[in-house]
């Protein structure tokens, strides 16, 4: 079985790999382009022995306007893991489906559609409810979704709470005259 570096050399001939980062001896991350991604995953699975899809998830880089999908693949023979990143456009996130490669891919894609609003055309049951039911807001895992405000508005909190800031309290009681309003 090829070592990860040899494997990368080999794959690098056929794919545009970037941001290769070796986190540990048994874990590396790399990025492939969106059009190549599914073929790349299939090659990893079929040719390189990375047969186990550990998980698939998404990272929201709201400041860069992108989503980064992460597919984590595991090789049972070398006990090596590869995290494959794929950048998507955050505003119009769409990705090829991997439900034909791994059975649980469908579930992950359904979850990502619900939690981030990423489309995976062709993935069965993509629009079914996964965790949420009757959700009427933007997908909740997106960074711009403010859960505190939402929870406060929708579910409320029991009254009878209220806190005093020690520094503020001491200032008001102990040296009111000595405050210029520049206090922080």
């Amino acid at each position: 079985m090829a070592t990860p570096t040899a494997l990368l050399d080999e794959l690098g001939k056929r794919y545009t790999l970037s941001e290769i980062h070796i986190q540990r001896d048994d874990l590396l991350f790399l990025k492939v382009t969106k059009p190549q991604a599914v073929r790349f995953l299939k090659d990893l699975r079929d040719d390189a022995g990375y047969t186990h899809l550990t998980f698939m998830t998404n990272i929201d880089y709201i400041e860069d306007g992108r989503f980064t999908l992460t597919y984590m693949l595991h090789n049972y023979d070398t006990h090596h893991e590869i995290g494959v990143h794929v950048d998507l456009d955050r505003d119009n996130a769409e990705m090829d489906s991997i439900h034909n490669l791994w059975a649980q891919g469908r579930t992950y894609q359904c979850e990502l559609r619900e939690m981030y609003g990423i489309r995976f055309p062709g993935s069965p049951g993509l629009d079914d409810d996964f965790c949420l039911e009757g959700w009427d807001q933007i997908p909740p895992m997106r960074k711009e979704f403010d859960i505190v405000a939402f929870s406060e508005e929708r579910f409320g909190n029991r009254p009878g709470r209220g806190s005093t800031d020690p520094r503020e309290h001491m200032g008001t009681v102990m040296y009111p005259e000595h405050r210029d309003g520049t206090e922080h």
């Binding site: 990272i59 034909n100 059975a103 909740p140 979704f145 859960i147």
Partner: protein, 378 residues
């Protein structure tokens, strides 16, 4: 790999839609199976989850690194320690902290004890699912003795919040080792009894042998891990393949099976409980009693973990449990993803395996896959 279910015409009157769960005694935790049946036979199954969805991954994005340590244990209720350990491990790796050796031993013990407790609960569930409620009464009680140990060690029965990034939160109490050994002896005796009255029970054997066979070629496409995979003959165990904590310091065997049916999976787990006891006894023998058990952390009130990402996994009772952490150098995580084995076992795998079984076996099949809904939906 996804095979669409055969077209079912509900209006034909031949089929019946049957919901098992969420309020149903034959379901593990709070989830539901939408079964389409023809007579007694299940022709299609769809798993519905989300009844326990709390949005952990989102909650964790707005809590500081120390605050998260209190919340992760809630992700898998009967097995909080795996979450605690994995969260601590990912944070330690990214912030370059190494827990002291003594803490590593304590953690190993903690994890194995939790595994045993969780298996006992599962064993009770197996008993209950196949009408052997006596087993349930025994095992839950013995699990309670384990919870007593946890209470003594960590200060809580269920949510221990003991494995903190950097180490553990306290030394073991005086005389703990002796009491732990006593509990282990008790569980070992119990397991022998269980073997006699459950595993040798003709009813159990008849109902479980040949039920829900996972073939070898299903394992990778469905992402099956843990005992479910080992019962199919794969000697794969994270503790052996990518050793963490002190697992390469102690002697134990990876248990595998061949038949890969419900009985075999139960049998593999029973043997793993014995292995767990074996590991714990060695840990108790070798655990250092002095030295530090915590590496100092930066001020946790404004702790910033350097930018990076990592994935760490551990072998929990149900298979590969892992934490994927992405940080951006701030006081908060950029993204954390919890990989629980139930995710694929309870959905993709269950939906496939339920087809062709009898309604009455669904509960047994479910329990033989050993799934926890909270780790699916988080």
């Amino acid at each position: 790999m996804f095979e669409p279910a055969a077209p079912v015409d509900l209006s034909s009157g031949k089929y019946l839609k049957l919901w098992q769960g969420p309020q149903h005694p034959g379901i593990t935790g709070n989830m539901s199976l939408e079964l389409t049946t023809c007579g007694d036979e299940v022709v299609a199954c769809k798993t519905h989850v989300g009844y326990l969805h709390r949005g952990f991954e989102k909650l964790m994005e707005r809590r500081t690194f120390i605050q998260n340590f209190t919340i992760v244990c809630r992700i898998a209720v009967p097995e909080p320690t795996f979450n605690e350990y994995l969260y601590a491990a990912v944070v330690e790796e990214l912030s370059g902290i190494k827990a002291p050796e003594r803490a590593e031993w304590i953690r190993t013990f903690n994890l194995e004890l939790m595994r045993l407790g969780s298996y006992l609960m599962w064993l009770g569930g197996v008993g209950a699912a196949f009408g052997q409620s006596t087993i349930y009464q025994w095992t839950v009680t013995h699990r309670d003795y384990i919870l007593d140990l946890f209470e003594e060690m960590t200060g809580a029965r269920v949510y221990h919040m003991y494995i903190v990034p950097g180490g553990v939160r306290g030394r073991l109490p005086e005389g703990f080792e002796d009491r732990a050994r006593k509990v282990l002896d008790g569980v070992e005796r119990l397991l022998m009894d269980v073997e006699k009255i459950l595993f040798n029970n003709v009813v159990f054997k008849t109902r479980t042998k040949g039920l829900g066979v996972i073939t070898k070629d299903m394992v990778d496409p469905y992402g099956i891990t843990g005992p479910n995979q080992r019962a199919a003959g794969f000697a794969r165990d994270v503790r052996r393949d990518s050793p963490y904590l002190m697992y390469d310091e102690v002697e134990w065997d990876v248990i595998t099976g061949t038949a890969s049916d419900t009985y075999e999976r139960a049998w593999v787990r029973l043997q793993e409980m014995h292995q767990g006891i074996r590991i714990m006894r060695q840990v108790l023998d070798r655990m250092p009693t002095g030295g530090p058990f915590q590496t100092p952390l930066p001020n946790v009130l404004h702790w910033e973990v350097p930018k990076g990402e990592t994935y760490i996994k551990a072998e929990c009772t149900r298979g590969e449990y892992g934490y994927y952490l992405v940080t951006d150098g701030s006081q908060y995580v950029r993204r954390v993803h919890v990989r629980g084995p139930s995710y694929t076992h309870a959905i993709a795998l269950m939906e496939k395996m339920a087809v062709g079984t009898n309604i009455a076996d669904i509960a047994g099949l479910m329990v033989s896959l050993h799934t926890y809904p909270p780790e699916i939906e988080r």
